[in-house]
C-alpha cells in the first residue's frame, strides 16, 4: 500500500482526521445553535481551516502552549478540550470553560495548554514571546505557538513580536492562517506583498515558509521542523498556511463579497475531504474512518444536550476574579 510506512503513520493520521472531523462537526453545531439563538454575541468559525488546527496540535507535546485569536474554537478543541466545555462557553453557560465570563472569543483552558484567545488583533504575539521567554529563562523545553490570521500581519504588534522573538531567539512559532480575507476585504487589496506573512519573514532573518494549510500532513511536517528548531534553541519560525474559510468572518457576515465560484473551488480542496481520501490512500479501513465520524457525532450530541441543560452562570460571578484575591474591591 502506497506510503503505508511513511513518517506519519496510521495512528497519527487517524488522530488528525479525528480532530478535523470533531472541529468540523462542532463548528457546524455552533452555527446551528446561533440560528436557534442559543449562542449569543458573536462567533468566528474555522470551517475550512481544520487542517491547520489538527496538524499543529498533533505536532505539539504536552506542556507546549497555544495562544489563539477570537477564531480559536478549533485550536482549543485540537488541544483536547471537551466539546461540552467549548460549546458551553459559546452558549455562555455555567458549564463553559470560563463559566460564561469570557465567551466565544476568549476560550482558555490552562490544563490543556490553551493560554487564552485574544480578541485584539496582534496582542497575543508579544504575549506568546513572553511565555517563550519564561521557558528560555527557566531552561524549560516547552514551545509557545501563536495562531493568527492574515490581517494581523499589517498591525504593529506583529512586527514588534517577530523582531523581538528573533533577537532573543525565543522558542515560539508564529502560525499565520491566511484565509485570503481579513474581515470583508481581500488581504491582497491591503497588503504590500502577495504573501502577508511569508514575504515578511526575510525582514526578520527568517525562512520564507508558505504551505498548503488544507493538508494536515503538510502542516504537521512543517510544524515538526519548527518545533525541532525551537527546542534546539535556534529561535522562532513564521509559518504561513494557505487556507479558506467556508463561512463569513463572523456570525454577522454572509460573505457576499466573495467572487462567484471561489467558494466552490475551495470546497474541492476541503481539508476534511482531502484527509478522508488520504486515509483511504494509505490503506486505512473504511470502518475505522466511519467509526471516527460516528463517535464525533455521538460526542457532539451529548455535549449539545449537556449545554442546553446547563444553568446560566450564577450572579455571584459578576464580580469575581477582577483581582487576585478573587474579588473586585478597589477601595477600603
Amino acid at each position: 500500500m502506497k506510503g503505508k510506512n511513511d513518517d506519519i503513520g496510521a495512528d497519527k493520521r487517524l488522530e488528525m482526521y479525528r480532530l478535523q472531523v470533531e472541529i468540523r462537526d462542532c463548528e457546524k453545531r455552533a452555527y446551528d445553535l446561533f440560528l436557534q439563538n442559543l449562542v449569543k454575541g458573536t462567533s468566528h468559525l474555522s470551517l475550512g481551516q481544520e487542517a491547520i488546527a489538527a496538524g499543529v496540535a498533533s505536532a505539539m507535546q504536552p506542556g507546549d502552549l497555544s495562544f489563539c485569536t477570537y477564531r480559536g474554537h478549533a485550536h482549543t478543541l485540537a488541544r483536547g478540550v471537551p466539546m461540552e466545555k467549548v460549546l458551553g462557553e459559546l452558549m455562555q453557560r455555567d458549564n463553559g470553560l470560563m463559566r460564561g465570563k469570557g465567551g466565544s472569543m476568549h476560550l482558555t483552558s490552562i490544563e490543556h495548554g490553551v493560554m487564552g484567545s485574544y480578541a485584539i488583533i496582534g496582542a497575543h504575539l508579544p504575549i506568546a514571546c513572553g511565555a517563550a521567554w519564561r521557558a528560555q529563562y527557566l531552561g524549560k523545553t516547552d514551545v509557545s505557538v501563536c495562531f493568527f490570521g492574515d490581517g494581523t500581519t499589517n498591525i504593529g504588534a506583529f512586527h514588534e513580536a517577530l523582531n523581538f522573538a528573533v533577537i532573543w531567539k525565543l522558542p515560539v512559532i508564529f502560525v499565520c492562517e491566511n484565509n485570503l480575507y481579513m474581515e470583508y476585504t481581500p488581504i491582497s487589496e491591503v497588503t504590500a506583498v502577495p504573501h502577508p506573512a511569508g514575504d515578511r519573514a526575510a525582514a526578520y532573518g527568517l525562512d520564507r515558509i508558505v504551505i498548503d494549510g488544507n493538508d494536515a500532513d503538510v502542516v504537521y511536517r512543517t510544524m515538526q521542523a519548527a518545533f525541532t528548531r525551537a527546542r534546539a534553541g535556534e529561535g522562532p519560525s513564521l509559518v504561513e498556511c494557505l487556507t479558506y474559510r467556508h463561512s463569513g468572518h463572523s456570525r454577522a457576515d454572509p460573505a457576499k463579497y466573495r467572487p462567484a465560484g471561489e467558494l466552490e473551488e475551495w470546497l474541492k480542496r476541503d481539508p476534511v475531504k482531502i484527509y478522508r481520501a488520504r486515509l483511504a490512500e494509505f490503506g486505512i479501513a473504511e470502518a475505522a474512518i466511519a467509526a471516527i465520524e460516528q463517535e464525533s457525532r455521538r460526542k457532539l450530541d451529548l455535549a449539545t444536550e449537556a449545554c442546553k441543560a446547563a444553568p446560566m452562570p450564577p450572579v455571584e460571578l459578576l464580580t469575581t476574579d477582577v483581582y487576585a484575591d478573587g474579588g473586585w474591591a478597589w477601595r477600603n
Binding site: 502552549l65 470553560l97 470560563m98 463559566r99 465570563k101 469570557g102 476568549h106 482558555t108 483552558s109 490552562i110 493560554m115 487564552g116 485574544y118 485584539i120 496582534g122 496582542a123 497575543h124 504575539l125 508579544p126 504575549i127 506568546a128 514571546c129 513572553g130 511565555a131 517563550a132 521567554w133 519564561r134 521557558a135 529563562y137 527557566l138 509557545s144 504593529g156 504588534a157 514588534e160 513580536a161 523582531n163 523581538f164 533577537i167 532573543w168 460571578l317 469575581t320 476574579d321 477582577v322 483581582y323 487576585a324 478573587g326 473586585w328 474591591a329 478597589w330 477601595r331 477600603n332
Partner: protein, 329 residues
C-alpha cells in the same frame, strides 16, 4: 539609615526584590547596560546579569506583551515604559490585556507584573514627554496604581508591587528623581492601598500625589504661618486600591477637602475622590470640595508656561486660603 535619591531608591527597590526572588526579571529600553535614561536602574545589569536585566528594542507593545506572557506563566516581570506618555502606544496591554485576563478566564490566569514609568512634568520636555497619566490607569478595573512621592516609599511600594499578584502600574515622577530622603537599611516592604498622613492638621484636608506632595506640604506650612490655617496633608500614594478610610476620616475631622492634582482637569483622580466624599460624608463638610489641578491643556515646553500650568505651593496656598475665607473661587 542612608540618604538616597528617589532615582537610587528605584534601583534599590528592584534589587531588593531580584535578590529575594529569581522569578523577578526586568526589561525595557536602555535599562540594562545604560542604566536607564533617568539613571534609575544603574548597577542592576552588572549585579543580576544579562538574563535577568534585559535591554529591548523600542517596541513598547513587545515589552508589555512579553512581560505579560512571562507573568502569566510564572515569572514576576518588571517592565519599564520610559516616559509615561508612551503608555499610549501600548495601551492595549494596559487597558485590554493585563486587567481583563483574570476575569475573562474565570481566574485561570493571572498577570503579576509591574510597569514602571516616568510620569509627570516639570522637566520642560513639552507635551509628549511631560503628562501625568495616572488617571488613564486609575479608570481601568483590574489594575492597581501607585505613585510614590519619596525615596522610602519608592523602595517599599516597589516591593509591595512586585509581590502583588495583580498588574501594578508604578508611576515614578520624573521631577522627583533627584529628591533625597532617608531610607533605613535592610528589607523594606510597604503595602498597596494605603495613604499616609504626612502633616496632621485640624482645619482642612489636602490630598496630593507624587510631585504634588512636597508642594502641598510647602503650601501647608505657608498657610499655617501666614493665615493660621492648619492643614492635614495626605499623600494618597495608591489610587487603586484607594484608602478611602484614611481620606474620609480626615475629611470628617476637618470638614474641608482639597485635592492637588497634576493631571489635566477632566476625570482627574481627585474628581473620583470628590464624588466619594460628596456621597458619603456630605453632611460633615463645612464648605465646597475644591480641586486644584493643571488646567485642561497639553503641557507647554517653555519653563514659565509649564510653571503656570502645574499647581505649585503658592497657588495651592492662595486657593486654599481664599476658599477657607469664604470665597467660592
Amino acid at each position: 539609615m542612608a540618604e538616597l535619591t528617589y532615582r537610587d531608591a528605584v534601583a534599590r527597590g528592584i534589587a531588593q526584590e531580584m535578590e529575594r526572588d529569581e522569578r523577578v526579571v526586568f526589561l525595557g529600553e536602555d535599562v540594562a547596560k545604560a542604566g536607564g535614561v533617568f539613571k534609575a536602574t544603574v548597577g542592576l545589569y552588572e549585579r543580576f546579569g544579562p538574563l535577568r536585566v534585559r535591554d529591548t528594542p523600542i517596541s513598547e507593545q513587545a515589552i508589555l506583551g512579553a512581560a505579560m506572557g512571562a507573568a502569566m506563566t510564572g515569572l514576576r516581570p518588571i517592565a519599564e515604559i520610559m516616559f509615561a506618555d508612551f503608555a499610549a502606544v501600548c495601551f492595549d496591554y494596559i487597558a485590554n490585556e493585563f486587567p481583563k485576563l483574570r476575569y475573562m478566564t474565570n481566574g485561570q490566569l493571572g498577570c503579576p507584573l509591574v510597569v514602571r514609568t516616568g510620569n509627570g512634568g516639570g522637566a520642560r520636555f513639552g507635551a509628549q514627554h511631560s503628562q501625568s497619566i495616572e488617571n488613564w490607569t486609575m479608570m481601568i478595573p483590574g489594575l492597581k496604581v501607585v505613585a510614590p512621592s519619596s525615596p522610602l516609599d519608592v523602595v517599599g511600594l516597589m516591593a509591595a508591587a512586585v509581590r502583588d499578584d495583580n498588574p501594578v502600574i508604578f508611576h515614578e515622577h520624573k521631577s522627583l528623581y533627584a529628591m533625597k530622603g532617608e531610607v533605613p537599611d535592610g528589607e523594606i516592604v510597604d503595602s498597596l492601598g494605603t495613604a499616609k498622613i504626612l502633616r496632621p492638621g485640624k482645619d482642612a484636608t489636602i490630598l496630593a500625589l507624587a510631585m504634588m506632595v512636597p508642594r502641598a506640604l510647602e503650601a501647608a506650612e505657608a498657610l499655617a504661618a501666614q493665615h493660621g490655617i492648619d492643614c492635614e496633608v495626605i499623600d494618597v500614594r495608591s489610587l487603586v486600591p484607594l484608602d478611602t478610610q484614611t481620606i474620609l476620616t480626615s475629611v470628617v475631622k476637618t470638614g474641608r477637602l482639597f485635592t492637588v492634582e497634576e493631571n489635566p482637569r477632566l476625570c482627574g483622580w481627585g474628581a473620583e475622590i470628590a464624588s466619594i466624599a460628596a456621597d458619603e460624608v456630605f453632611w460633615d463638610l463645612d464648605g465646597p470640595i475644591v480641586r486644584i489641578t493643571t488646567p485642561h491643556i497639553p503641557l507647554p515646553a517653555a519653563d514659565h508656561l509649564e510653571d503656570l500650568a502645574i499647581p505649585n505651593a503658592a497657588r495651592i496656598a492662595e486657593r486654599v486660603s481664599r476658599v477657607m475665607n469664604g470665597s467660592q473661587r
